[in-house]
Subunit: 379 residues, 2 copies
Amino acid sequence: MSDNSFFKLIKEDSTTNARLGELHTDHGIIPTPIFMPVGTQGTVKAVQQRELVEFDAKIILGNTYHLYLRPGMEVLNHFGGLHKFMNWDRPILTDSGGYQVFSLSPLRKLTREGAKFKSHIDGSSHIFTPENVVDIQRTIGSDIMMVLDECAPYPAERKYIEKSIDLSLHWAERARKHFLNTSPYYEHRQFQFGIGQGGVFEDYRKQYIEKMVEIGFDGYAIGGLSVGEPKELMHEMTAVSTELLPKDKPRYLMGVGMPQDILNSIEMGIDMFDCVIPTRNARNAQLFTTRGKINVRNLKHRFSDELIDEELSIYPGNTFTLGYLRHLFIADELLALQVASQHNIAFYLWLVRTAREKIADGTFRQWKTNFLNEFYPEK
Amino acid sequence: MSDNSFFKLIKEDSTTNARLGELHTDHGIIPTPIFMPVGTQGTVKAVQQRELVEFDAKIILGNTYHLYLRPGMEVLNHFGGLHKFMNWDRPILTDSGGYQVFSLSPLRKLTREGAKFKSHIDGSSHIFTPENVVDIQRTIGSDIMMVLDECAPYPAERKYIEKSIDLSLHWAERARKHFLNTSPYYEHRQFQFGIGQGGVFEDYRKQYIEKMVEIGFDGYAIGGLSVGEPKELMHEMTAVSTELLPKDKPRYLMGVGMPQDILNSIEMGIDMFDCVIPTRNARNAQLFTTRGKINVRNLKHRFSDELIDEELSIYPGNTFTLGYLRHLFIADELLALQVASQHNIAFYLWLVRTAREKIADGTFRQWKTNFLNEFYPEK
């Protein structure tokens, strides 16, 4: 069911393609542009749910592939969905599982019917079809679900992409049909996004988006990017896509990325982001701060009294010093992973919150340029 | 400097040897009996400092051996001590490092002078003497410091113990002398405890305590227990010790233990406890709750809607279900370690808080008996 009250476009920036909007879900309103922390298996790694609320996460992401295997559908069904299971009453978006089938499964086979794969945990055999992936996401109870697609690798030739988008579009049609013919299992509405593919070929990207818009989804994602292609190509494909996507629907750039990628993509008109970088890099001692990246294992921080991020003025960046956090990493303490993950999530949420403020007051372009030049320069 | 305002005995139980007291430090008043969460390397594993405050930890423990090696004295000196380094403004007690020299160092040698050892991290050579261990704890800035001693193994023959207590008493005299001849490095007072040794031999225990009391410390610990001896012997030695220890000084049973050991020792007149069990066992999925121990990995919890500990009515026990926590453990998520560690610390602090309330209202013996019989029966 397409629901017109789902997305509200609030403002378009006058000097860029950036936009302010709102996603209205039954678990709350999500202001856009937004970053969605990744909670793969029903937890954002090392960050507690109440901390996500403290850092003002408006929505988190769950991975259908992982949740389907563990805890599994029986458990999620018993608990009444992922929100209740993990004690999170704000919105959740789930991906379709397609990406993990390609990146994690030791053995997989694509057919017209769906994607057959073996579990990376125990080798058991499974199949994802456009239809059962909708059903699985109904059991999970995500507010926003994604359609099953093939996330083509990079590099891939035109011939490969041609076959791939033919299959993904066939799946998208079936997914939408099944979504419209079924109802949520719980008391809240669900929305469904299509995912634009097409590799790094402009004509395929355009062709795909046109057909997807014909089918008609509640929102549109740009998929198959940030998979190894040069940054320029990623930006090019993003720009091509946002030009064609309808203005009155939200746009989600999947799996992106670094702070500079996020701000540059907001400039092109992207509304939603998710990425494991803030938490994964945190576990490798890389901090993102308002004054740039910091590798906190570096010996130079041994005696550092500097706070992790005083300007952010939110826990834990306003509390612990680089010297203490370095010690925690060197001593292999769990608190290192906790503090670094918390901080990076808080920073990413600050980043999109600030972007929204700057779009609102008309200074986004200038702020973005200065901030990136000073603290996150392109190499 | 012995300070008479340090310990206040507030009440003695009428039907047991349990007692209520207060330790007055410059970082706050510690009600006794108390449990001290162990923060080995400047962090209580997987539990954040602000969470310790939330769970009402009145004092935590740091390990001199670990802190001396990492972050090291230069760093702690630069930061002005452990309190500032780790952002903890409540009291800290540090052990002498002796125990870790025996349990962790790959090579060590005891001489009259002190304990020579090699670092378990990089093999570098070090020596702990009664004097430099005082100095190290002055650099750490702990509110309560312990003297260097030999923690004799179990089993050990009378002959071994005889030599061992001769050395430890010699060290204790030197430690006290050095403590009295030196001053704190920071703005707060420090207190020094002696540690009673003597293996499992009543006469040696008594002899040791008499000499220790002659030397005169701010408090007395009972050491060398909970090192593998039968529980009856541990209780016997504890009872022997508390009979002889002065009533107007705090008594600390080192490294003990399970909930039943703590309540039984409170009954014998012990005031202070520390143990790694709540956090270490948490990381192995063992929960301590108001209704007994729970191994949360157990398959039977897969569909459990039961909260971890509703009766405790404190986060996270009042928030997450056993089913969710089991999933986190099975899926190898960091949040599992965080939630289980938090809960177990909260439970241990609840245990001693409740013991204090029961001593205050005169129902300690009855409550203890019922609680242990029902939820923590002796095997």
